[in-house]
């Protein structure tokens, strides 16, 4: 199959997985609701929207993990490999399909969050920082790639998801009290792409996250190419 056909096949899989559909809907709707609740309080609309992005990343992690791990829930991976025997083309197709779905999801999530926050905010004159929103969406897509890589390694949902949620959401603030190295964890570094905070600049944060992704995806590619299905 050509890469185009592979991507089309992977997109059909993603579009018809109930879990993926639920994850996409939750990722778009829940942050919007949360942003509205927050904006009704003291924070500005933009701050509320960016705050809710911190929760949207859990949705993108689920999306990335499910995109790969669902192949291993049954014996679907063998059917897939019979159709696309080249492992690297298959992985490329999966990545492209994930990027397409995740980009739409992330853009919808940040747009929805900012719209909901502006509706709920008493002062609708507040500025919307479009570049900041785009960077937040880019971060969401990238962090989900970590889910793709982790699920390729573990081949199941619970372990990959639990480990990543702890690594991305729970550990950074806890470790930060002990060492500033915590700023280099993927979630903490990536958050600097769209939110000011201690530690790295937006560019450095993006580069650190990129390095994490490069290593994780390389490990995923090597194991996927070498391991029995």
């Amino acid at each position: 199959m050509t890469l185009r056909n592979t991507v089309a096949a992977e997109l059909i899989k993603l579009g018809t997985l109930p879990g993926v559909l639920a994850a996409v809907c939750a990722t778009v709707l829940l942050p919007a609701g949360l942003a509205a609740v927050l904006a009704a309080g003291p924070p500005s609309a933009m701050a509320s929207a960016l705050r809710s992005v911190e929760y949207a990343q859990a949705g993108l992690l689920v999306l990335g993990v499910l995109a790969v791990a669902s192949e291993y829930a049954g014996s679907q991976i063998r059917t897939t490999l019979a159709a696309v025997p080249g492992r690297m083309p298959l992985m490329a197709g999966k990545l492209v399909a994930y990027l397409l779905v995740a980009s739409c999801t992330a853009l919808l999530a940040v747009t929805g969050a900012v719209l909901a926050a502006r509706l709920a905010d008493g002062a609708p004159s507040s500025d919307v920082d479009v570049a900041g929103l785009l960077r937040a969406a880019a971060y969401l897509v990238l962090i989900g790639l970590l889910g793709v890589a982790a699920a390729s390694l573990t081949r199941e949902v619970i372990g990959a998801l639990g480990g990543l949620l702890v690594l991305v959401l729970v550990l950074p603030p806890v470790l930060r009290r002990v060492t500033t190295l915590a700023d280099y964890l993927p979630g903490a570094a990536g958050a600097r792409m769209y939110q000011q905070g201690p530690g790295l600049t937006p560019l450095e944060g993006g580069l650190v996250l990129g390095a994490w992704l490069a290593v994780a995806l390389a490990c995923a590619a090597v194991t996927f190419a070498g391991r029995d299905a």
């Binding site: 009704a40 619970i158 949620l165 729970v170």
Partner: protein
Amino acid sequence: MLNAIAAELRKLVLLPSALVATVLGTGLTLVLTATSMASRRTKLDGGMPEDGLTLNLILEMPAIGVIGVIVLGVVVIGSEYTPTTKDAGGGRQIAVSLTATPNRGVLLAAKAIVLALVSGVLASVTVGAGILISLALLGSHAGSPGEVLAALGWRPAGAVAYWVLTALIAFAVTVMTRNGVVPMVVFIVNTSVVSVSFLLSRVTSLAKYLPDVAGAQMFARNYPVEVRSEPLVGGLIMAAWAAVLLAVAAGVFIRRDA
């Protein structure tokens, strides 16, 4: 009933994910406690005045380690519904469990009891070891062990209760969803510092009735919420949440097809 409990205990300790979660949850908590105590000691040695927060630190890290028992609560029932591969028949363990223990109430009760026992033991070990490590690392800065224990008072017990009740709540929700993904995401995200409960507490004072906000009052001294409950009231609120969710879970489990 005793046989059912023994069976469930054996199942739980043989689950690889349960083992990984408990080892990581406890290990990570103790490592974090040790490192934060060590850096605290360096600061105190360097002449930083005691600001009264040192004792709080002892019980702060177990609030993160609770993730271990959350995973435990999720997989103890979630694993029953995970189908094996098609090559192995695609069966689910719940069918076998119900054949062996047809009374659904007994099966669910056995699972809840085992979960409470295991998470209680884990919590006691983690909190106890955390206190010992803190005492050893702080040395003369902490005062005598007796003084520290007197100052901590009932808070270590509160932390253990928080772990057990959190595990039971995660368990009850997973009984309803029959799938571990949603409860895992919700409960782990809510354990992080950017917890939903914490954000809601800024918007409405009703947030003090949320299970984790109420339950945290059992051990946390500086919980960053303006409107708090008394420790005992907080514990009762959390216990009420656990009881109601378990009751709903039991109703669902008894009536629904496996």
